[in-house]
Each structure stands twice: as C-alpha cells, then as structure tokens.
Subunit: 411 residues, 2 copies
Amino acid sequence: MSNCLIAQSGGPTSVINASLSGVISSSIENPNIHTVYGSINGIQGILNHNLINLTSVFADSKDKLEILKTTPSMFLGSCRYKLPEASEDETEYKLIFDILEHKKIKYFFYIGGNDSMDTVLKLSKYAKNNNKDLTVIGIPKTIDNDLFGTDHTPGFGSAAKFVATTLLEISYDTYIYDIPSVTIVEIMGRNAGWLTAAAALARTEHNSSPDLIYLPEVPFSIYDFLNSLKQIQKTKKNIIVAVSEGIKDKDRNYISSCENSLDDCFGHAKLSGTGKTLEHIVSRSLGCKVRSIELNVLQRSAMHIASLQDINEAFLVGAKAVEYAVKGITGKMVTLIRTNNEPYTYIIDYVDIEKVANKEKLIPIKWIAENNGDVSEQLIEYISPLIYGEPNIRYKQGLPVYLDINHLINK
Amino acid sequence: MSNCLIAQSGGPTSVINASLSGVISSSIENPNIHTVYGSINGIQGILNHNLINLTSVFADSKDKLEILKTTPSMFLGSCRYKLPEASEDETEYKLIFDILEHKKIKYFFYIGGNDSMDTVLKLSKYAKNNNKDLTVIGIPKTIDNDLFGTDHTPGFGSAAKFVATTLLEISYDTYIYDIPSVTIVEIMGRNAGWLTAAAALARTEHNSSPDLIYLPEVPFSIYDFLNSLKQIQKTKKNIIVAVSEGIKDKDRNYISSCENSLDDCFGHAKLSGTGKTLEHIVSRSLGCKVRSIELNVLQRSAMHIASLQDINEAFLVGAKAVEYAVKGITGKMVTLIRTNNEPYTYIIDYVDIEKVANKEKLIPIKWIAENNGDVSEQLIEYISPLIYGEPNIRYKQGLPVYLDINHLINK
C-alpha cells in the first residue's frame, strides 16, 4: 500500500476544486492507496514540508467533498514556481524525492495549466532517469482553454458561461435609454481568445449583442474598429464590444500600452486596461456615451454561475487520473476528447506531457470570422455545449456555501 | 371601464420588471380596468405618443409574464426627465392629460426612484388642482435603497445579494498565493452606502472578509485607511476592502477626483474611479500586491443571482399598486413595512408622495460602526433577510431566458 499526493498550481478557476474533489474521492476509494496527502501552495508545499493529510479531513465526510466540488478558488493554495532543469541543478529534485519517499508517496497529481505541466514533465523525467517509483499525472485546468492535447480544459466552460451570461445581462442593461451608446467589455486572455470568443454565446433569439468581438490572435486596428462602430451605429443604438485584454496592434504592441497607436490615445498604460484605453479613444472619436467594464477575477471565481457540465467533467478528470496512476501510467496529462457535438458526448483519455507542457493553444485562424471583429459559427458551436447546466450549490442565508481550508485544518 | 398606463424611469435594477409584471398581472385581472398601456422611455413616451398595448402582448400569456418577472433591465425603457413646475409652464401637462384622456387612462403607475417620484407628485397635484380623473401611484425601485417612507426598496435585495456573493467569491480568489495582497472592490452608491454595507454579508463562518468597509456617509481619511491596512496586515495576509464609489474626504470632495488629498494621489480623475485611485495610493504607500475591482453595472443587472425575496416583493408591490389605484388612492408611493426581523415578515402599505419625492435616505450614523471602516451588527441584521432565496430562472442552452421588448413588439 502506497500513498498519493495532490497539489494545485497556476491561477484559479471555478472548478479546479471539483478536480481536487475527484482525485480525493477516487483515491480514498482506491484499494491501492492508503493515505491521500495535499501539498499547500503547489510544488512549494513539498519543498516547505507543508503537506496535510486529506484522508483524515475527508474520509468520513462525503458531504465535505460535495461542497468542495462546488467551491471556487484553490483549496490547497497555489504557486507559480518553475523547477530548474535537473541537468543544471538537482538539489530541489533530491529534496522533493526524499520527502516523497519518506511519506511513501507513489502517485503524484498536479492540477494546473501549461506552466504546471512543465513540473509534471520534469518530475516524471527525473523519476524515470533515476529509477524512482513515482507516477506523475497532470490534470488540466485553465479558464484560458489554451492547453494542447485536450478538446478543452476544465474551468473554461464555467468562465465561458459567466462571460456569456454577463454579456447578455449587460446587453439588456444598455438598451433602456433612448441615446446611442458603446459599451466595451474587457475579458481575460493575454494570448488566447477562447474566453473572449465565448461572448458570442450571449447572442440569443432575443439579443443580437455583442456586435464586435476582438481576439488577441489577430492584429487589432483602432482605425478599423472606429469604422466598424460608425457602420453599426447607422442601424443600432446600443453597441456592445467584447474585447480580449491581450489585443495587440500589427506590430504586436498591446493596445493597453498604446504608445504607437493613434493621436487620440492617452497612453496611460499603468492606469488603464485595454477596455479603459478603448473607452477613451471611442469617447474622443465618436463623442457618444461610452462605458468600459472589466470582468476581472469574477471570470475565474463566479462559481454561483458555473457550468454543471464543466463541474462534472472537472470532477471526472480528477477521478480518472487516480485510475491511470495506479496502473503505472506516468508523464501524461488527462484529456477530454469530444466524440460528438450535438448531442455533445466525450470520453476521457491521456496524452504525453511533452505535447502539452509550456505550449499555448491559440484559436485556429480558420475559426475566426473573415471580417475581423467576429468569430465563426464553428467556434460558437464548439463552445456552446460546454456551458450547459446550472451548479447544484448549497445556499445558506442567501449565500453559497463554500469550503475553506482554514476552517477545516488548524494550520 | 377605464384603462391604465405604466412606465418605468431612472436606472435599472434586476427586479424592476418584476414590479412591471405585478402591475400587468393585477391590471389584466382587475374588472375595473379594460386595457393596460405601457409608455416607452418613461414619461417621455406619453409626450412622444409612444404607448403600447400591453394587454394584447400579455393577456393570453401567463408564461411571458413569468419570464418578464425574472428579466433584468427595464422592459419599457427609461428616461431621466423632470417635468417643469406646472405653475411655471403648463404646456407639457396639457399634452400629457390630453393623451391620457384620449386613451381613457384613469390610472397611472410610475416605477422609479426619488427623482421619478417627483413626476408622481407633480402629476397627482396637477390632476387634483385641475379636477382631472386620474389616480397616480408610485412604485419604488432602486439598488441604492435611498427612498424614504419604505423599509427598503425593491431592487436593493438583489443588488445586495450580488455584492455579497461576489465579495465572498473574490475573497476565496485572493487567498491562494502565499504573498500579502490588498483587493479593493468599488461598489455603487454616490451618497447612500446601503449597497456597500451589503458587502459585510459576505462574512460567513468560513470567511472573515471584507476587512474594511467605507461608506459615503462618513468622511474618508486616506491616512486612517493606510493605518488600518498596516494594522490588519500584522495578522492577515490577504485583505479585502469594500468601498463606495461616493466616498468623500472631510471637505466633501470625492476621493475619486482626489485633488486635495495626498501627495501620492495621481489625480487622474477622468481615468480612475474610486477603487483605481485607492489602488494606486495603496500600491505606492504599502508596496504590496494591490488590485481594484469595479463591480459596475453587474450590480443592477445580474438577475441570475437575484434574491427571490426581492423578486417576490417587487412583484407584489406592483400588484398592490393596482388595488390602491382603483380604490381612488392617488399621490402615494407603495411601501414595504417590516413587521418582524427574525423570522422576517412584512406588509405592504402606502405613503404620501411628498415624503419621498426628491429626498435621499442615508444610513443613520448610529448604524455605522464606531470605528470608521465597518458597519454595525444592526445594519447587517437589517440587510440579511433581503437576500434570501434563489431566482427561478428558466435556462436555455446554458443561458438565462429573458424577455426583450423588441422581440415581442414590432416597433
């Protein structure tokens, strides 16, 4: 009988704890696993001897695992820490494997994005090269949906549902006054525009907005943008623009830094985000009412409007990782493979970690609409099934009930 | 048999259409009322001859009235238009009453805030002074909760639930990294701090944030604020500050304009809101990670997390207005009277419109905590029951189903 260890890394999503809940549930039930450990603040928790016994926290409480499944943020904390190449400096690897061996840990699960998969890659390589008995499995998460080797990432569907729902509600909010307006909504994603593209889902039979969608994959022209606005204003009073925080001009300069763009750019890079920058440009150029809205961290933490599909997938991806690990599968990331789009079906598989680590999957250009400022029907069809279903959240006195590590463990 | 007219005015709330749904339902069922008209863009719809027949839209569709009940924004559009004093200029009054008489309208319902109640006051006065057969009833709404004569306003509970839920989720989002941080959340309310105070509800048995709450009712000192942060940082890593957009210094200057405040204020009034201004001050003074988040229009439009209590009260207040009007009651606003706090019970009544129009109800100083930077237990107990219950929203393909006037009526 061996033990297992779980850690979380990178930025949060609404459902990264659903994956954690999946790993814990599956590990506790697995006859090959004795104790389930959690590392506080990612890989740094091992280096800092900061491991907690999750079996003792959760074994007798299915109830807590259910609440954990619908708790946003990262129950075990996070880190953004990159291991050095073992060939250059072996010190930390020796420390890590000493602790793992001391704790009889044979299975290590790391829930994270493309940077975190670098840790999975390095640890699995080191184990192999040094005949260490450790299987290392990566479990994908990121609202950015920018991981290779998987149809999509857990966390994306919930962020997409928040973006689409909020864009729909903002669109309703803007039509009430009988004056022209432009509302610019800034959405997360420095390089990959998947989440910004999800704004297109807000177009329903009762709502035609957003009217323009700008992704970081294609160069952004302020000139074209203003022209498009003027064109749309001829037939529509209230315009909604969804814009990625990471849009760049043709020379790859961020619009938010806006130094080389146009005369009417104020260049207050430190104060303004992309939305604020565009707000001032539009306000000066068109003179109509302009508002910018930054969705901010709500995109990755609004569990109350998470996608049930996403929660369930995140949980299953975590559970399946345990199954793979005890079979001796190592140096892989668990993946979701879409087997049909309508009705949406999928299977869970795994992929070589080399194909994922440190890489960024952008939207294929063919999925971006030919006229810059929109996305293709294909892209909308790809995202649509991922936002289905409402979360089964417990409420108490009007607020969602979430699980907090400090409440469970006296650190 | 007479007809009735309904209009909406001022800023939107998540539940102002629930009140509209209540007026329409009750009017359609009332034997004294023949046709229910709606005025597009508030009182201006009358002046512009822009009335629509709501009976023909809704009479055969209970279903649509149910969807309207959970649709955010303002179905009939809005305006911010103040009638002149009739003693100074009677022209518009004559126009309005001509149209009302022509359409055989005997009952007029105006859903709005303190400015809109000015319209109710003036029209009811004019009717009385000129022997016009019109009863005018005001129906309260505002996320600001700043109307006199009512325990609270429909719209406030839902905005409060959004603020509390979001603060809870932001608080979870901030604790994951092992570094100190300050997160500043800017909440709507230029003069009244009721909505900012609702941030205190995010404190649950698993969450102690927000740590500081600043209301516009008491002067804000940047010096005291920075001292409080330093004090809290001694025992807590991640600090959450809830701040009203309307906080002012001791000379009543808005902190967001920040001209006379401190050396480390950048004074970018046009670019920055209150949160951004404080972000830069804290960043320069404390040097730790600082983020500001503006909740923006989501506070008034996020129907997906509205309070069921609020939706139901908004509906009933609308329905009751019809009952009062056909009894000949005029120049009044419908009110909510709390009869018990725990368990929460209330009755519906009405109040003289003079007591409400153009006035602003601020938080009583005794309800603000003695140490500036927090609210009292009494204030929390007052707000708590208003956020209970989740809305029964219909979902389609992962998104809430809302009702749009352009879809129902070919304008």
